[in-house]
């Protein structure tokens, strides 16, 4: 029985706070943690499948053109080689998140260097890899494919905002800032490479893959293959990190499925680390002009944010740089515009907090420049400019804890609100300084379904095709069900990552917990209604804990040998259009900058966040720690390097693409400002994962300036940039 709930108005009843189990919000350790750290949790490529052949993708060595011939025979004669597949259904780009359909360029048309064009299948992985490298490909090359975003005309994206007269406001302003920041491309850099094992049983296909959104991926795969969704089963029980790179179906999944059908045996395709870097998603580089006009006191009168990003021709996705700039600060004269340069680098798509991950570091860097011009504390400048309501849409905020986060964060960090001047503290060779920034991330929420069964033995089962990409989904769903049904989380079995289960929301845009969590909530509420009827009370009066009612009656007795199963179907509803919903926060950082070498190291960092109800204190905090760590990467080390001639990604492994390592990450503090966001979701929770990296890089950049006097406008702030900007 399916119970549908569409949220059209705020959920003020705080039902979850009235439950008696008392497990929601607690720092419950991950239920699957032991399996993961002991290596017994199987990842996509690790399922034992008998008779599995191994496929390796062949990738292009030109930037634009056409494949006119493959010398298959030579490769087929090599030891162990079973097939060279260049089926026209092979995909050459990953699907964008929530695309719900397959990319359809076909493997003959080449639009970037390193693009998959064929699959070689052999008995062993080594044979396949060797053969893939030996395959001679004949190309018809189109010279002169543009690969430099600065060298092409741009096209304007829809959604430009022009309100009032920004140019006038800038001219009249007591204080103004007009600065241009750049950010470099980023890779998701998930640990588990993209991998799939495909197996057919007649017309029925089963694929073990590493994917974030099975609810979309199933349609994407069926579309790619030209088969019915009902004939496809996708399994992703454990995902070794996604960070956006596994939102849409990717090339290895489609290739494995086609090969397995052709060869009538299971086929595994695992991308090499270099392939993951070169043919999955990049975050676009950005160029961002910020214009801020303020009155004498620092109150914004004008706000301009203009960003140029890039992508391949034909791709709809454009890094949504301005997402939070639309509502974070006041300023009645506004101009916000996003433009896209069409170039032939690999596909740009969602990578860790698309938009704010790079938009916020630029905006918050500009705010620091403004605070200095106005001569006020940067925390004070932000507090002065928190709008009453969305400054463009005129909508109320579903909730906005920015002020609390700024104040409580400053307090906890020990922020000195006195006058700020660069180069005031020295420790040996190092200049030491502090910086801060606001955090903001638009809240996303999506339709989701989950089936909950309260079993006659007094345990519960939660089933949904939702994924756990390392965030703690297994655990929080067990906590939500446990809280509602009066059970310890270890009495709740959560089955995820299998399209046989009802469609969840998938993991992406930090929406998984609030969306699928709400579906579980809706299902559990229906089960409670059934139980309440049996007890003879209103559902709202039913108190359950430790498997019993408040009157001491056990669930097992109430169930009388029968299960109660309900499918919860949650839909966001009209409330989405009535409020501007976002997570807010503040970052504070202390860094040291070497006065000789320009090396920067983070001494300590604190993030204070308000993101609605905290479902699990421990996994929420871990999400924040991860986000802050990514902030360090954006600020100091992460940059994709593209060859200026053919546009290929050159630094395509984890030795040369520098994510922060343990020694780069100091003691991090997280302050969670508890709130209930009644309009964000029925369970009053918002997204967490991405907020932790939305602005943090600016706290570090601003601290670099405060420490050393180097005001840098190019992320990441590697020693070469710091030295160039450092005063003598």
């Amino acid at each position: 029985m399916t119970v549908h709930f569409k949220q059209d108005k705020p959920e003020q009843s705080n039902r979850l706070d009235g439950m008696k189990q008392g497990v929601l919000g607690k720092g419950v350790s991950r239920l699957e943690g032991l399996a993961k750290v002991t290596g017994t949790a199987p990842y996509a490529a690790e399922y034992p499948v008998e008779g599995c052949a191994e496929g390796v993708l062949v990738t292009s060595t030109i930037t634009r053109g056409e494949v006119v011939g493959l010398d298959k025979d030579a490769v087929l004669a090599m030891p162990g080689v079973l097939a060279v597949i260049d089926d026209s259904r092979l995909t050459t780009r990953p699907a964008q998140g929530t695309a719900n359909e397959a990319p359809k360029q076909g493997p003959k048309t080449i639009s970037y260097w390193g693009q998959p064009i064929a699959l070689v299948v052999a008995e062993t992985f080594e044979q396949a890899r060797d053969a893939a490298k030996h395959l001679t490909v004949k190309y018809r090359e189109e010279e002169g494919a543009p690969v430099d975003p600065q060298a092409v005309e741009t096209e304007e994206k829809d959604g430009t905002v022009r309100q009032g007269d920004l140019a006038h406001a800038m001219a009249e302003a007591a204080h103004s800032v007009d600065v241009t920041f750049t950010t470099r491309g980023h890779a998701s850099a998930a640990m588990e490479p993209h991998a799939a094992i495909a197996e057919w049983d007649g017309d029925k296909l089963t694929v073990h893959a590493s994917l974030q959104m099975l609810n979309y991926n199933i349609s994407e795969l069926a579309d790619a293959l030209g088969v019915e969704e009902d004939d496809v089963r996708l399994i992703s029980r454990f995902v070794g990190g996604g960070f956006g790179s596994k939102l849409g179906i990717s090339e290895e999944v489609v290739a494995a499925a086609i090969a397995a059908k052709d060869l009538a045996r299971p086929v595994r395709v695992v991308m090499s680390r270099q392939q993951v870097f070169q043919c999955i998603m990049r975050r676009s580089e950005t160029t961002q002009r910020l214009r801020l006009a303020a009155d004498e006191d620092g109150k914004l009168t004008g706000f301009g944010h203009h960003a140029v990003v890039s992508n391949l021709p034909g791709e709809v996705f454009a890094e949504p740089v301005l997402q939070s700039s639309h509502f974070l600060y006041s300023g009645e004269n506004r101009e916000l515009m996003l433009e896209v340069a069409r170039i032939h680098r690999m596909t740009a798509g969602s990578v860790r907090a698309p938009g704010e991950a790079v938009g916020m570091p630029a905006l918050e860097g500009a705010m620091d420049v403004l605070a200095e011009k106005v001569g006020i504390d940067p925390v004070e400048l932000r507090l002065k400019n928190i709008p009453e309501q969305d400054p463009e849409e005129g909508l109320p905020f579903s909730s906005n804890k920015l002020a609390e986060c700024l104040k409580q964060g400053a307090e906890a960090f020990g922020w000195d609100s006195g006058p700020r001047k660069p180069r005031q503290h020295q420790d040996g060779e190092w200049w030491v300084g502090t910086g801060m920034a606001s955090a903001a991330r638009a809240h996303s929420i999506s339709e989701a379904r989950a089936k909950v069964t309260l079993k006659s033995d007094g345990t519960a089962l939660v089933e949904t095709d939702m994924t756990d990409i390392g965030t703690g989904t297994y655990t929080i769903l067990a906590q939500i069900a446990g809280e509602m049904l009066g059970l310890e989380p270890n009495k709740v079995l959560v089955e995820l990552g299998d399209t046989r289960h009802p469609r969840g929301s998938g993991s992406g845009g930090s929406w998984g917990a609030a969306s699928t969590g709400s579906a579980v909530y809706v299902a559990c509420k229906a089960i409670r209604e059934d139980l309440a009827a049996r007890v003879g009370v209103e559902e709202t009066a039913l108190e359950l804990s430790q498997g019993k009612t408040s009157a001491g009656k056990s669930l097992i007795d109430l169930l009388g040998g029968e299960d109660i199963a309900r499918e919860g179907h949650y839909e966001p509803g009209d409330i989405k259009d009535d409020y501007t919903a976002a997570g807010f926060g503040a970052f504070f950082a202390q860094v040291r900058v070497n006065r000789y070498t320009g090396e920067t190291r983070v001494d300590r960092m604190l993030g204070a966040f308000g993101f609605g109800r905290v479902l699990n204190h421990k996994t929420a905090r871990s999400q924040c720690l991860g986000g802050i760590t990514w902030s360090i990467g954006v600020a100091l080390t992460e940059a994709l390097e593209f060859d200026p001639r053919d546009g290929h990604l050159v630094n395509c492994d984890l030795a040369e693409y520098h994510v922060p390592v343990n020694r780069d990450v100091p003691e991090l503090d997280v302050l969670m400002v508890e709130e209930r966001d009644a309009a964000a979701s029925p369970i009053q929770a918002k997204g967490i994962g991405e907020l932790g990296m939305c602005g943090g890089a600016a706290a570090i950049a601003n601290a670099i300036y405060n420490a050393s006097g180097a005001r840098i406008f190019d992320y990441p702030m590697t020693p070469d940039h710091v030295l160039k900007a450092m005063p003598d």
């Binding site: 060595t61 030891p79 080594e126 890899r129 060797d130 490298k133 090499s272 270099q274 060779e429 070497n594 000789y596 070498t597 320009g598 090396e599 190291r601 100091l636 080390t637 390097e641 593209f642 060859d643 200026p644 001639r645 290929h648 050159v650 630094n651 030795a655 040369e656 520098h658 922060p660 390592v661 343990n662 020694r663 780069d664 990441p716 590697t718 020693p719 070469d720 030295l723 160039k724």
Partner: protein, 328 residues
């Protein structure tokens, strides 16, 4: 990965025999070679596993120095009490490289032979004169942030990526090599690596069938020993610039200044004139600049790596200032 035969050498003669063939290679820790084989940058037909042929001892030499086996691991070397007490510059250099896991596997001989991290070298679908003579240099006019500013050629601007060898160069260590013919020869580490010139495929002076057996360090040299590595992240990153320094002061003047530099060239860079310029001079900015002028006399950037020139100068200042303070 291409098919290859794999033989476990029991004694050095086995290894010599197998590796005399130009399509054969010796493998020890494999931390570099295996990666390159997977990428098909290295495509040996035969591998001789030399992990069991001995040469892994660290022992005193007749003249009071230290002989470090080529097959001793980086970790064993860095934690060795004699290395720590008498040659701290070497211990520090080793510990600043790679990661603990890699150092546990990597051997000293292999470390000397590790190949460049140039992006065009490691991508077989791009031109590289080192990997494929005559195909061109992708890094010139390409992405060259990590590349050489000293001693490069129009054929190759790659850098030698290691740290250990930089310290060995400052220490004036000797590399002992078993030749294909069964004799032994000794090459100063300062002459072990080559400049690219018009033979960029040649990283070092090893000939086919030759195997490094040991590295010897001179009798303890004392002094203040520093290894300074400038990098973008604080672990698991190759040096932008690194300096190994052994410095002594007498009456406020430099009396010893053995310096070697990493990250700048196709080999650890050593220039005797720098010590000459420093000895007898006080530790002033002027002195440091003079040393830097000598170091960078022929320096040339390739755009992206231009910053290495001022960075080397500044790092040299930092190291000399710090060393002078410590040594005083």
């Amino acid at each position: 990965m291409r098919p290859f035969s794999y033989t476990k050498a029991r004694v050095i003669e086995d290894a010599r025999q197998i590796t005399a063939d130009e399509s054969a290679m010796a493998i020890a820790g494999g931390t570099n070679l295996l990666d390159l084989m997977k990428l098909q940058v290295e495509t040996p037909h035969k591998l001789a596993d030399i992990n069991r042929i001995g040469f892994d001892e660290i022992k005193k030499t007749a003249d009071g120095g230290l002989s470090i086996g080529a097959l001793a691991t980086n970790t064993a070397t860095a934690v060795h009490p004699r290395v720590r007490s008498d040659y701290p510059v070497l211990a520090r250099a080793i510990l600043s490289g790679a990661t603990q896991q890699l150092r546990n596997k990597a051997t000293n001989g292999g470390n000397l032979c590790q190949r460049t991290r140039c992006f065009y070298f490691t991508n077989i679908d791009q031109p590289c004169n080192k990997r494929e003579p005559g195909s061109g240099c992708g890094a010139i006019d390409g992405i060259a942030k990590l590349h050489a500013v000293l001693g490069a050629s129009d054929q190759c601007i790659a850098t030698y990526p290691g740290d250990m060898a930089v310290a060995l160069s400052a220490l004036d260590a000797q590399v002992h090599i078993a030749t294909a013919g069964g004799s032994e020869r000794t090459v100063p580490v300062r002459d072990f690596h080559c400049l690219p010139g018009d033979t960029p495929w040649r990283d070092n002076v090893l000939e086919d069938g030759e195997i490094i057996t040991a590295i010897t360090l001179p009798a303890p040299v004392g002094g203040t020993q520093i290894y300074r590595k400038v990098r973008e992240r604080s672990s698991y990153a190759f040096a932008l610039v690194s300096i190994a320094a052994i410095v002594e002061m007498k009456d406020g003047l430099f009396s010893r200044a053995d310096l070697a530099f990493g990250g700048l060239a196709h080999k650890p860079w050593h220039d005797l004139r720098i010590a000459e310029a420093l000895i007898g001079q006080p530790p002033t900015a002027q002195t440091f600049d003079k040393a830097a002028d000598i170091l960078l006399e022929i320096a040339r950037g390739y755009g992206e790596n231009d910053f290495k020139i001022p960075l080397a100068r500044r790092t040299l200042h930092a190291v000399l200032e710090h060393a002078a303070e410590e040594a005083a």
